[in-house]
Structures are given as C-alpha cells and as structure tokens.
Amino acid sequence: MSKAMPIFDPKSIMKNFGDLNSKLIKGTEMLSDINEIDVGTAPKELVYEEDKIQLFHYKSDKKPSNKTPVLIVYALVNRYYMLDIQPDRSFIRNLLDQGLDLYIIDWGYPTQMDRYLSMDDYINGYLNNCVDVIRQDANTEKVSLMGICQGGTFSTIYSALYPEKVKNLVTLVAPFDFSTNEGLLFNWSKHLDIDALVDNYGVIPGDLMNVGFLMLMPFNLNIKKYVDMLELIDDKDKLLNFLRMEKWIFDSPGQAGECIRQFIKDCYQGNKLIENKLVVGDKKVDLKNINMPLLNIFASGDHLVPPAATKPLNDVVGSQDKTLYEFQGGHIGVFVGSRSQKELAPAIYKWLNERDATSGVKIENKSKSNQTKKGQGEKK
C-alpha cells in the first residue's frame, strides 16, 4: 500500500461534482416543467362499489378474443396502477391488446373506521361479491382470477373456497409457503408483535410499512437511486417514468388491522395456508379444493417474495393442469420490465386462451431455466 497512486484525480473529481451540480440545476428546472404524473391511464369504467372498494371494467377497442372474463386481484399493500404505470409499459394495455376481458378491484384507502375489516371481509365479502357481479355482468358461470403478490394469496384462498366460480387461476409473485427464511420480510415478520402493532394503530399506516420495505436495501433505495436519477435528468420522459414509479412506491394505503393481524399471524408466523390449517371466517381453506387450471408465476430474482415461498403451491393443489412459470427478473420487473411486455403478458394470454377453448391444454414455458427438477413449465 506504499506506492504512489494516481487515483481520485482532483480534476476529475472537480468535473464530477461540477456535473452533479449542473444536473441538480437541470433537475430542478425539469421538475418545475412537469405538472402532472399520470398513472393508470388505460380507460375503464366503474361497475360496482361497496364501502371503499371499487370494481372496474377495462375498455378496449378490440373485442376480447377470450370468452372468460379475468378479474385482477392486486395486493392490499400498494396501488393496483403499477400494472398500468406508464402507457408504453402497461401490463394491462398489453393484456387487453392480446384479447383479454379485464376487471380489476381497487381496494381503496382504509381509514380508522375500517380497522375491524378482516380477511373474511376481504375474501368472503368483497372479493366474492366482485366475482358475482362479473359473473352476472358477463353472463358467465365462472371467471378467471389473476392474483398478484398478496392478491395472489387471496385469490388462491378464494379459489379453494369457491372452486365452482373460478375457471382458471393465475398467480404472480405470490407467497404461499411462509416457512422460508430466504426473504428478509419473512424473517422480520416472524418476530413482529403484530398484536401490539394493530392494537396501537388500528389501521397500520402505509408510511410505516414503507420504512420496512426501504430497509430491505437501504443504501440503494435511499441514496443511490436518487444519485442515479440525476443521470436521466436531461430526458423528460425518463424522468417522468422515474416520478411515476416514485409515486407508486410511496402511495401506500394503510392496512386494515384485523386483516393484517390474521395475515401475519396465520400466514407469515403460522404458515397455515400451505398446511391446510387456515380458517377464513367460518370456512376452512383446503388447497386440494383447487381443481381448476393453475398458472403459478414466480420471479427468480424476487427479494420480496422469494421463489421458495411461491413454488410449493403446485405441489399441494388438487388441479391436474398446473404450470409453474419462471420469470427471470425481480418482483416489480414482472409488471414493468421489457421482458414482461414481450414474453410474460403474451404467455399468460396464450395459457388462458388455450384453456378458454378446451381445458387442460398444456403450454410451453419459453423460459429455459424453467426446466427444473420438478419439470416446471409443463402440465403436472
């Protein structure tokens, strides 16, 4: 370590900080120019509302080629417009263009008045009512469910409780086996006194949840992201996309106390779902009751819901037609990444469409790494 080192050249450092300074000025100017951050712009109409939840039906110029309507069930912890975050990278628009008939639930923003809402209310109440509305609206016996993250867990529970109403079940980056220690959230939740949290807050503030999410990668999410942002400050479109994502990240609804209490206790801490011990309301959840075709999608680089939490679902359901699909990317990349647009959305459409015509048709998973020891990507 004694030799002279020409590293950290003063001139380059001056240039570095000078550039940084200029970018900050430019950034301030750019932010002044942008007046609105538009998200969730795909046209839709309100078809049902109950308390604070709303059910929307997406409109499309194209007539759906798939007969069975698809209900998208998003997580309670963030807003559903992640799926339609920007017009040129919209999972929703992509699926509509493919030919799906889409509905989506907006869970709304719970207030203190909603602190007693439970998983029973969300699943046996709101979700079941929305499914019934769509069945009536579309004049069909069954709908397909597409559950995302926590919404995937809820959709799976629903499908086990009401299999007669579900034609196909698609789950994306959803947790089912909570015994894993691979994800930090899974570790931390096991030692969280959820009773104390719910008794204190009633409705857990979204900001409080965000602190936990940011702690998963504090240096990248709190520092580097914003320093890197200055690199795209000259490009208004890219800056706007950055702002859209920021808006989504920090637009976090509070969590109804009784619902999150049961979700943490029975799922994260008790792992009751995968063990068929979960009871929602007065109904016992038996995953063997899931007999419809299942497409279970996980992301290989998911740090929020690790694959180990997702994959075991296919081993415990009663379905004969079940597909495990590996997406190479992270939790959010599933919806906004370019591969998501090019590969995943068409694959979901194809999978659903083949089961819309004749059930039980297998689909090839384009992802090569899907060929694991369990033979994912093929009908099991």
């Binding site: 370590m1 004694s2 030799k3 002279a4 080192m5 020409p6 590293i7 950290f8 050249d9 380059s12 450092i13 001056m14 900080f17 000078g18 940084l20 300074n21 200029s22 900050l24 000025i25 430019k26 950034g27 301030t28 100017e29 932010l31 002044s32 007046n35 951050i37 203190q112 008045m113 602190r115 007693y116 209310d121 220690n181 930090l184 570790n187 931390w188 030692h191 969280l192 006194d193 104390a196 949290l197 008794d199 204190n200 009633g202 998963l216 990668m217 504090p218 240096f219 990248n220 520092i223 580097k224 914003y226 320093v227 942002m229 200055l230 950055f242 702002l243 920021e246 808006k247 920090f250």
Partner: protein
C-alpha cells in the same frame, strides 16, 4: 488538489458556470440566495439549500415532486459528504503516507456515525434529551421513594398493634401512607392523594418505565447499526487496497461511490438476515409500541373530562358500525336470495 480552498474555489467556479446556463431558474433562486436563512461556508451546500427553498416555497404541485427533490438534494449532499469524510484517506494515498498500520487513522468514526444516523433516521439529539430527562426522573424518583420507605417501616412497626385488633393503628398506618403521598406525588406533581389523578400518576410511571426500556433497546439497536457501518468501512478500505495492489490506477470517485454502496448494502444485509437482528428489531418495535400505547392512555385520562370523543370510544363506535354493517349485508343477501 493542494488544499481545501483550491477545491472550493474550483467548485465555486464550476457552479457559477452552471448557474449562468440557467438564468431563468437562477433569477428566482437569487432571491432566496440573498435572503437565505441557512448559512454555510460551503458554496455547493449553500446553493443546494437555496435552490431547495426556492422550489419548495414556490411550487404548488403533488407532494411527490417535493419529496423527490428533497431526497435528490439530500443524497447529493451525502455523495458530497462521503467525499469529505474520505478525503484524508485519498490524500494519504496520493501523499504515499498510507500503510497497513495507519489506514484507520484517516477516517473519522464520528463522521461515519453521522452518516449512519442520517440514513437510518437516528435522531441523536432527541435520544440524548430523552436520556437526560429519564436520568432526572430517576433522580427525582429516589427522593420520592424515601418517604414511602419511611412510611412502610413505620407501618411494619405498627403491624403487631394492628393484628392485636387496635383500630387506631390502622388509622395511623393510613395516615403514614397519606403523609408519604403528600411528600412525594403531591409535592412533585400537584396531585391529590386519591382518585383519578392517582391513576394518572401510576400510568405516568408505567409510561416512563416503557420509555426507558425503549431507549435502552434503541441504544442496543443503534450500536448494532454503527458496528456494522464501521465493519463496512473497513471492507471498503480493504477493497481499495486490493485495487491498489492490482495496479488499478484509474479509479474515479464514482467507482468509489458504487463500491461504498455495494459494500455497505452487502454488510448490512448480512446483519439483517440474522435471527438476532430480527429479534432485536422485533423487541425494539414492541418496546416503542408499548410506550406509545401508555402515552395515548395517559393522554386519554387527561382529556376524559372534556366533551370530546376519545380514541377508545371511537374504536368502540367503529366496532359497532362494522358489526351493524356486516349484519345489514347479510340480511340484504338473505332477502335477495329469498326473492330469487
């Protein structure tokens, strides 16, 4: 870079050029620069503060705009701060004065602690003040305890008379307790001897206890975070030393920044995934929630005489509304099914 003045001179020059290029914006900023309330000898930071003031005071937009700008400026400062902290180390490399024995001397642990404080929102002033208050309370508590100890001793002396069935001894015992209360709680908190106010005092004591536990847990938590921060710093030093050994002579500050981010992220991740951290974090959250709960209970006791709905009463109301709503939905569903 021969000295710090030269560094800042060059820096000032660079930003003057940048300011020239954005006259439209700088005109607005200038007002704030002239009337700026924040003072600093660092022109870069001075400009940042002024620009931030200008934007946040004049723009009427979604909150996210301001949040992003504040975070961007704040993290640019971190970027700059990082350079300041590591500058002595870089200089030592250039002056050939760095060796395996002295490399730690070029980094200030206090500054590194400040960075960790900023990142994880540890408010050092707040906790120092809290600890000082708890210490004062503890000292007061000692003074408060003495009359009670005396009263207890007197009552022990009276106890044989009490069990002998002398009723006046019971009266005397009560008076001893009453006197102790007078000398302590009444004196310190102007509280009467019995009734609701005694509940307040008891609750206050429990709250202080919970706050002490929280402060203690927080100190334990912060210690774990600081130790990890120092460990990460040593790893960064080792990584740079390795690059030097490998004759990598074109390391830019940006490379260093990325190395610093990655190393810290990995080092903290190693801590975060341990069971010990999860338990500590869980204990800290629980301790904080316990104190918070007592605080709200205490607040309610003070507000209970006022004609306002309290949180606990509202919770009861919410529960009733929830149950009624659920009942109505069920009845509506039954009617609908019957009609069908």
């Amino acid at each position: 870079m021969s000295n710090t003045n030269e560094f800042f001179d060059l820096w000032l020059k660079a930003q003057n050029q940048a300011l020239e290029a954005t006259k439209a914006v700088s005109e607005q900023m200038q007002t704030y620069i002239n009337n700026g309330t924040k003072t600093t000898n660092n022109p870069f930071e001075f400009w940042q503060n002024s620009a931030l003031d200008a934007f946040t005071n004049t723009q009427n937009k979604e909150k996210i705009f301001k949040d992003v700008l504040v975070k961007t400026f704040s993290n640019s400062k971190t970027y700059q701060k990082l350079y300041e902290i590591w500058q002595p180390y870089f200089k030592a490399i250039q002056n050939k004065s760095l060796n395996t024995n002295n490399y730690k001397n070029f980094l200030d642990p206090v500054e590194i602690k400040k960075l960790v404080d900023d990142l994880f929102n540890f408010d050092a002033d707040y906790f120092n003040e809290l600890q000082s208050q708890l210490k004062k309370f503890s000292s007061n508590a000692e003074q408060m305890t003495k009359p009670w100890m005396d009263a207890t001793q007197k009552n022990i002396n009276l106890f044989p008379e009490f069990i002998d069935g002398q009723p006046e001894s019971f009266q005397q015992m009560f008076q001893n307790i009453h006197a102790a209360f007078d000398k302590t709680f009444v004196k310190n908190m102007h509280a009467p001897a019995v009734g609701k106010d005694r509940e307040k005092v008891e609750l206050m004591l429990k709250f202080i206890d919970d706050l002490s536990i929280y402060t203690s847990k927080n100190a334990e938590f912060q210690h774990a975070m600081y130790v990890t921060g120092l460990s990460a710093t040593e790893k960064v030093i080792e990584a740079i030393a390795q690059k030097i050994e490998q004759d990598e002579d074109n390391i830019q500050f940006e490379d260093f920044f990325n190395l610093w981010i990655d190393t810290n992220e990995k080092t903290y991740y190693s801590l975060f995934q341990t069971k010990e951290y999860s338990v500590l974090k869980g204990d800290l959250v629980q301790a904080g929630l316990n104190a918070r709960k007592k605080y709200f209970e205490l607040t309610e006791t003070y507000l209970s005489d006022l004609p306002i709905a309290l949180r606990s009463e509202m919770n009861d109301l919410y529960k009733t509304v929830y149950e009624l709503r659920k009942r109505i939905k069920l009845l509506e569903k039954q009617i609908k099914e019957q009609k069908a």
